[in-house]
Symmetry: none
Subunit: 331 residues, 6 copies
């Protein structure tokens, strides 16, 4: 009973170099985007208890924070605002694009300090609204999609004016990509500001530590009416196709590893676009916990997740492990 010749696979991966050749794409520094938290306390460097080694940074400490990373090869960051003084929050998130918004200030500073660093701005209202929801609400507490989209587009325009290279709306409202693109055209910025849409963002339990970090938990209700149900492959596909139709320059899937199947689907549906994924706070915290418990070596664990993202089709990964990866990729 001899083996069929074309059943023989072993030879094709019998040597470490052969195994590298099997990769459809390799991990590079330019594929990493570092998510950072900017607080409204300008000289702050505050620990985030649930996320080891991550801090909330004030604008005046960005040189200290980012300088060494840029030197090591950091190519892009994505900014999230943190408002420690809750009295500045209101129902429509006015702070989100005021001149005092830490994100607006940080964009300007970073563009000046590091002219070659790409700056993306996450756009959402939840860090700035008194109710902690991602949009503007009706009186009954449900989301007013039309008003929300208008506001999201307005904020996006102001981030673009401040100097953002990329607008990344994470709010999950229906129709916001078209609204943002239209706003950018109106501002004559549509030719140099790209829009990467959080198209497939799921109502996941992996976001817990982030809400700590950004102070953005909703004060009532939850986000299941705008973030996608975790079982919903069909809605995810429709959201991706919708955002392409509306003019998105890139697509994001979030969280990462627990939704690798959707990432692969995105890479197929949006085969002509850069595909990104966000290894979220929960994934980050768990990898640390797992290393601490002696279950899995941290570096090996991170690398296995990175291989997974590349294998599934990502061209860009948002990860809190960016500093470590910049080092590891040098060796």
């Amino acid at each position: 009973m001899s083996v069929e010749i074309n059943s023989l696979l072993h030879a094709g991966y019998s040597h470490p170099l052969f195994r590298e050749w099997q990769a459809t794409r390799s991990i590079t520094k330019s594929a990493l985007m570092y998510p950072i938290f900017i607080t409204d306390v300008d000289d702050a460097k505050e620990e985030i208890p649930s996320m080891p080694n991550q801090f909330r940074w004030g604008v005046s400490r960005l040189q200290e924070f980012l300088g060494p990373l840029v030197e090591r090869g950091l190519r892009s960051v994505i900014l999230f605002g943190v408002i420690s003084d809750s009295s500045k929050k209101d129902s429509c998130g006015s702070m989100a694009d005021s001149d005092e918004c830490p994100v607006v200030k940080a964009v300007k500073v970073i563009r000046k300090l590091f002219p070659d660093l790409v700056v993306a701005c996450d756009v959402c209202l939840c860090e700035y609204t008194s109710h902690g929801h991602c949009g503007v609400l009706y009186d009954d507490g449900s989301v007013n999609n039309a008003k929300s989209v208008e506001r999201i587009a307005e904020v996006s325009g102001n981030y673009a004016l401040a100097g953002a290279h990329i607008i990344s709306p994470s709010d999950c409202m229906d129709g916001r990509i078209k609204a943002i693109k239209s706003k950018l055209m109106e501002l004559d910025l549509s030719h140099r500001v790209a829009v990467i849409s959080y198209s497939a963002k799921f109502a996941s339990g992996f976001f817990g530590p982030f809400r700590d970090a950004a102070g953005s938990a909703p004060s009532f209700g939850d986000r299941r009416c705008y973030q996608l149900p975790m079982n919903a492959r069909g809605l995810a596909r429709r959201a991706i196709l919708r955002d392409l139709r509306e003019g998105a320059d890139g697509i994001m899937v979030k969280p990462g590893t627990p939704y690798l199947d959707i990432l692969a689907e995105a890479a197929r549906l949006a085969e002509d676009y850069p595909i990104s994924t966000y290894q979220v706070s929960g994934e980050y915290a768990i990898i640390h916990a797992s290393a601490k418990a002696g279950i899995f070596d941290l570096k090996q664990h991170v690398m296995e997740t990175m291989h997974g993202f590349m294998r599934a089709g990502a061209s860009l990964v948002l990860t809190y492990f960016t500093p470590e990866l910049l080092e590891w990729l040098d060796n």
Copy 2:
């Protein structure tokens, strides 16, 4: 700037029931297979330190162990043998299918005790060989594929004769599905013993705790020449297609969550077959560690992974959380 009508997705998931409707398939008790460790110490119940709540069981305690689970709805198990007395191991894993093999004995006992419970046998040599590799070796320590396949088929035949409903080879040798199927035909058992192939089994770091549990770490070298490289989508596809061509009745992807993209690929390639995935020991241990560290509620975490498996296309999940899931699915 009004929203395009076909950009509106929110209504479709605005109610909890609507969100359930989005699922392509739901989680049921019949979709769970419980992996259990059978030791050669007949009356043992040994803790496995790296895997909370999991034990190595002796054959004489299977009634005590499985009885309550069967009552709760357990429909299938998969057996792994553990040889505590290393003097019984040799270079070709003779113990694997001897009458003294705990798996052989357990199959017979379980079939008698629980006539309706489906019994699958994992087939591999690593738990039984002195060198701890999954096949028979050449003198230079590399795997002799032809000899290994022959031995794997022989062991499979003996498990089938002992009463196994399903043969599940996890050894990753080239051509073993055809060999097993041929052996079953020779024994006139091919019409009632199914073969579920570990087609896409990756050389993953998530297997650590399992090796503790089964005492199966290789004494030298590693398994990278027969388990798939973790970046290799292409080899995984080829292995799945090969196993279908050779007659497999079902396909497995292992580990689970970190390879969801491959699970989705398998569901596409093998669309006419039952698709299974193995939530492995490392995934299990990490979910426990994460709960213990307060990052993610255990039940919610398990459920999010289960939703992922179903969304990606699994019809069968091998998971150590089977006992908990049998309970949760009742509520």
Copy 3:
């Protein structure tokens, strides 16, 4: 007349980093394989007039030649034999796998000197036959395919026994992949020697300088009856599919840039396999001539071709620019 929103592409590539994200795969050191000429004069280092900076090397100078490159990150080489003493050539290319063959000797030396370097052997008869054809001939001067395949398999087996990791038949005979794989199985080497087939090798004018280098021009006739006609997309597709069916571990398209369309086709047809392409001697010489004539900067020219290979789907590139690329990729 306003512009349609989804007609706007500029933003998506308005920043250098955005342009990098558009790449489906990036160029890495592990993707380079360096083709080298081994002469039967053991201490030789002979200039190849038509190929600037390339030499024919004797076996005793391989440490001097390859040492610095391995240090810089060279991961793989492919060997071509050169027989300067034409009295050693005969009608069936006996020298090809004799113990005196420079390739056989070089494989052994390199494996000893650089244990981590992957060694591929080009397999063909033309460097060793008195008539300079790639196979064994009938009396009428046409190729005897059956005899040729038998001989090619025999040579392949001997290279594998000498230590080659990869066998790469460039002879274009019908059915040789199956024959080589069968020979490797017979020798119990099929699990650790991979076969990369020159599946789509065209009767191109770009091979001129190579024939100088290897002393392998046919003494009569040409190779149009076994190398593919340059217009033949259909035959190329059939040859690729045939070689996959016969068990190849990888596929090659040759030449490179002038057949990029076929490379893209290969990447589609063989999507589960590593895809390689050979930037041949003529392409190499022309890039040098173009730089010398001031038409195109050499580094930019090479990089544009490399981007092309990656864009079209290559995972492995055989190029004489490997030494330069190892340097450039460090900056």
Copy 4:
């Protein structure tokens, strides 16, 4: 070990005529379009140093230049304007469609002299703007897409009024195909003036000699924000699909040989349209340099590139070798 019958390919190309039958399409005179440079010095015939045998022609010498070629079977030309007197250039390229524009004058003359010759006009601003960019600029030096599209459409309309059969915009602005088509409808010319779009035009190093010829190098910056990144298969696909959606009558890929994979992709995406490719100035100069250096016979080299274009799916080739090809096709 006999060869499988359907592995036998040799017979299918064993005779020169069989090899011709393998071609999916053959090279004909009607598939050639000759790119010519028209200067504002009416009686000029100026050598272009970087492009052997190519000249800038004044309008009054077109009879002498084109007469013999038309007799030999020339079916179409594409015109590029050259403004030697830089004082005639301004920020919006007014000269591009003035009555004094050499292209406008040449269209009229050629239509009168050679009524059966098809005349295409390349449409771009870079030969006419003081800054040398392909569009109208914002004050910050970046491209104003809306204004540029408007101007491109205006110029196109004037070339159509002068008698052009084909408008070929090479400017790469977003949305210009729709704008041009709308302008032609407005002028009641949309039923007899076709638009062939430079849809996939890459920011390539192969354009060097052209800039010499046309005097069109940008005075600052480069064209990377509107010409496609050379790694970007996805953007190229999107640009082709966009132009089809906007009403293009044909599609162009430029440069030719180094982007054959994209040409093949275009032939698939736009399978119902004539597909054209431009063998650009750098390709032309390099083929000459290669012949001069004795690497590759000029005619054989040109023919191998032409076979490549046809194989990849071109129905129309813009090439400076048109005069030679008209001769070669007669033999």
Copy 5:
């Protein structure tokens, strides 16, 4: 109510040259194969009443007949034998490959007279059997497929030995392609004799005049049990795929125009192969009759059919209009 821009098609074919660009392939001399009748009367030139301008030629007049055509560019012929002396016919068509067979003699003569002319031999038994059927019969008059295939392969081998470049079996027996290929391998001719299969040959009324020409009408019954039913798209597809699987080098569809849909299907199914079609005797006679009746100009009619063949995907056309086409293509 304005017209949608992408509904505008007119411009794309408003000029005669634009209309030529729409062709996917053009008609060339190398795409023509001339079917000729060779009689056993060596010095004959006999009119065929039903086929104007076509004759049965004796072997000694082939110089006179073919010389001028070869000079005009004739590249290939296909030979049909005619046995005027019915006493030479028997039940197994022994004459078909005897040394006295006019086809065997003609092959030798033509190969000597015109070394560059490709010679194909139609292989069938009906011109040589006493019963006029295409195969060997059982006693009940039905076809003995196994015997027929054996005999067809034998005849094919003898034509190949006589010097035929191409074997073209028109007999429609099941499995004859594999048998012919095997015979050619046995004779060491498989590398230089190609097989073009009449894969989709229908039981058509358009064959009437041919039977006159070749004297091959069956003496009883008809050919509906081996020629395809004219309604049978499915059988035609299966026959094409079967012949590819069995090793055919090319595929034929017969008749031509009335089965253009099947020709297009063949071009899709066999996209990697040369596709041929046979404009049969009935089509030829009708075009003449139509011209004579003043319904349609002969040349225009022929050209419209030729455009149809090219449009549907033919790379090779067997047509009795070859002499006229050789002339027309010169103008």
Copy 6:
């Protein structure tokens, strides 16, 4: 050398009934539409010399003409108008939809006489314009598409008001389907008048006799700028897709047999629509000439073409053989 089992096709068509089963669809009376010429001489029955057995009928003789056919099972007709008095023709074809138009009168009569007979009206201007072109012209003699479309829609509306069930525009203007549909909506008739578009109508030589019949030859120029070039598979596909996009209820390919490949393409592209084809006047005349010349029996010839239409995918055939077919289908 035995025959492969899956190479055996003969059995599947060895019996006449089996051969019928091979048909994907059969010929029925309901699939026939009879094209008839209505002249402005009310009591006329004029022979059409080039079309045996076909007449131009006056309105008052329609009972005599159609009565027996309806009795035999005629289900639908398509009407063409003939204006014998050329003084009634003008530049915009005013007669086309005047109350005196023979088509308008005939629709009303037929609807009254044969309430169950479906009446289609061919819509074109060429039978009614003084210049004989299918649209309204610019002063330079080229077609004014916008004006033509407007006029075609107006005529369509009037035929619908007169009682036509189907509007069939044969004019080939760009965008007329959308215009006709809009006109029908305006008239509140869009729910009961279907539009079958002559989407793929080629500039064929097979239309000669029709122009005699309808008196519609153009007085200058030809129709090549609006009827499709006969080589243009791409344009035909685009025209079909365009008409579907614009709302057509059915698609027509014309002529029939010489464009069977396009008919098959239409059946694929418009798989959800009824597909029709027109066996045109030239095809009709030639079948008669062929029968008269003794080449092919008329009935067998017609049936072979009908089998072809069905095989290629037609659901509706416009043929002048309708009366004969109604008879033949009864036997």
